[in-house]
Symmetry: C2
Subunit: 326 residues, 2 copies
DNA sequence: TTGAAAGCGCTACCAC
DNA sequence: GTGGTAGCGCTTTCAA
């Protein structure tokens, strides 16, 4: 039951532990023949390298971190993102550690931070520890260019333009938007809102928007939609809140504005951040699939890049989802 | 920038590293005065113990694992569960590692497995490695009692009885149930289904149920609900699928069976697994809050117990959520 | 109450 | 192409 070590392997094979180590790592120092012999023996004896010893020697942690801020945790988008990140870390031979919201120490080689607000204390601590960080979908106000930091973002303008175009083709002349208050909202929410306004400007129409506090409830949502429908007389609605589109359907019905099927004429409902369970696959919701899993994967890949070769300045990159879920 | 080590601290304080180590661990070997002196110096110098070195010496990993099977990942329930687990691990000074679905090695001291199906290969590998495991909400067919294994489950009978009682008081005489096919469903889905039938039997009414495949789409859901409404003439509906209740509302409307507010007479809709975003807080859905975060926390606490003192047989425990979200 | 020394399992370096 | 040795930073044992 006691774990098999390198020395056990070496003894069994009549080799030195150096050779065995090199063979296992595949540094190309040993002959192909011994490499194979060692690999087979390792397999047979059930050898698993001791992560602690390796970490100690290599001076790395063999783990990457992921921080999802508390406010975001209800949304399945982040779950998919997380499993994309896990897959990326796993492919690179690292573990993925999920950080708590009170985390003070980070036993990782670097971390991905998704949708953090500007003043998040955990992120601040990561920065203080000069941990390599990839910000996914975020604009931390003041990032020193000395920090090993990168940013990967979705181009929300592209996504919103796509949606507006679909709605226009579907006959909408007065699209409305509902999103979060711009005061204390995550970066993507702000960008999406601006993108909506810019898109309307480009189409030469007035932007009709409503915003909600982060901790809004169903009544707040209803009132906001009611205002858009009754006062602004919108003929299509873009939802910039995850999970809200499904709830909006009965509300619109109740307001005398039933939602049409995606490919039929009438009032259309679009969601910028489709919740897979309730929204994607609904025939009444034009849902955008932001491919969160792929996003998480790309973020981790970028993290590995900046860990391996720390860049001079701050690296920027785009995640380009194949948005339309037909 | 090079990390401060125990030796650095010891030198700075004119003590041996043994003493410093003992002081930091708080083994009670050193005098209170030096303990304090060491703690202060550690704080001042920004000392952080090297996790790899500690792990190597202590022969533990300083991390706990969490495995969420792929089919489950869309649901925010698991996200909350995960963050409960993170909190528990963090409180115990451990990291929390998220395992990939192809994971072959587990650099952890034990793992929590939530809602795994009977033949999950990752779980099988964990068992082969005789890793301490806590099964949350699950019945793995053949668990050897030699394995350091524990099970923590929600009492779905309690939850379902609560719901049925609420519906009965609300005037329902022909409640219906919609859930997953019992063939390849997770343990909780099976138990909930049986609990519904048992509850109906106790009330002396016929159980009207419908089931869907794991990969059902919106049309399947609609047809199932249609059957329950038109053929079985149900006057209340219990949903055993997460995220489906919100979608069911417009469907019921369309079927000429509008859903009443929770506290008004009429057709009521209950959800056994409330999605916080779309369902909890909806006035039309009697949603059960299974307190997933607390569940995750309890699971990790149980895991730590069985790691510290491996039990003789298989430990069973209950998670008792304070279900009703008023 | 404190210190010295050994050693966890691995990989980097240097020698052959 | 292979082996010997040192040492990563920590905790454990044994000795004072």
């Amino acid at each position: 039951m006691a774990a098999v070590t390198l020395v056990d392997l070496a003894r069994a094979l009549g080799l030195s532990k150096t050779t065995v180590s090199d063979a296992l790592i595949g540094s190309g120092r040993v002959s192909e023949e011994t490499r194979k012999r060692v690999a087979d023996a390792a397999q047979a004896m059930g050898y698993v390298s001791n992560k602690a010893a390796r970490s100690l020697r290599r001076r790395n942690m063999g783990a990457l971190g992921l921080y999802i801020p508390p406010y975001a945790r209800a949304l399945s988008f982040y779950m998919h993102f997380a499993f994309g990140a896990v897959a990326g870390a796993s492919a690179a031979g690292s573990d993925l550690t999920l950080h708590a919201s009170e985390a003070r120490q980070f036993h990782v080689d670097g971390a991905v931070v998704i949708d953090a607000l500007d003043d998040d204390p955990v992120v601040q601590r990561m920065l203080d520890a000069s941990l390599p960080i990839v910000f996914a979908e975020h604009s931390f106000r003041s990032l020193s260019p000395d920090q090993p930091v990168a940013i990967i973002e979705i181009d929300h303008h592209e996504v919103v333009d796509f949606v507006l175009d679909k709605l226009r083709v579907g006959g909408a002349k007065r699209p409305g938007y509902i999103g979060l208050d711009l005061g204390h909202a995550p970066g993507w929410a702000i960008e999406a809102h601006h993108a909506f306004e810019a898109g309307c400007a480009r189409q030469g129409i007035a932007p009709r928007t409503a915003t909600l506090a982060t901790d809004h409830d169903e009544r707040d949502l209803f009132r906001a939609i009611e205002h858009l429908v009754k006062e602004d007389r919108i003929d299509a609605l873009v939802v910039g809140l995850q999970g809200a589109a499904a709830v909006a359907i009965p509300m619109l019905q109740q307001l005398g504005q039933p939602v049409a099927q995606r490919d039929e004429p009438g009032f259309h409902l679009a969601s910028l951040a489709g919740d897979p369970v309730t929204e994607l696959g609904s025939a009444q919701i034009l849902a955008m699939d932001l491919e969160p899993k792929k996003f998480g994967l790309s973020a981790v890949e970028l993290l590995i890049e900046i860990i391996e070769t720390p860049p001079k300045g701050i690296v920027h990159r785009r995640h380009r989802p194949n948005v339309f879920l037909g």
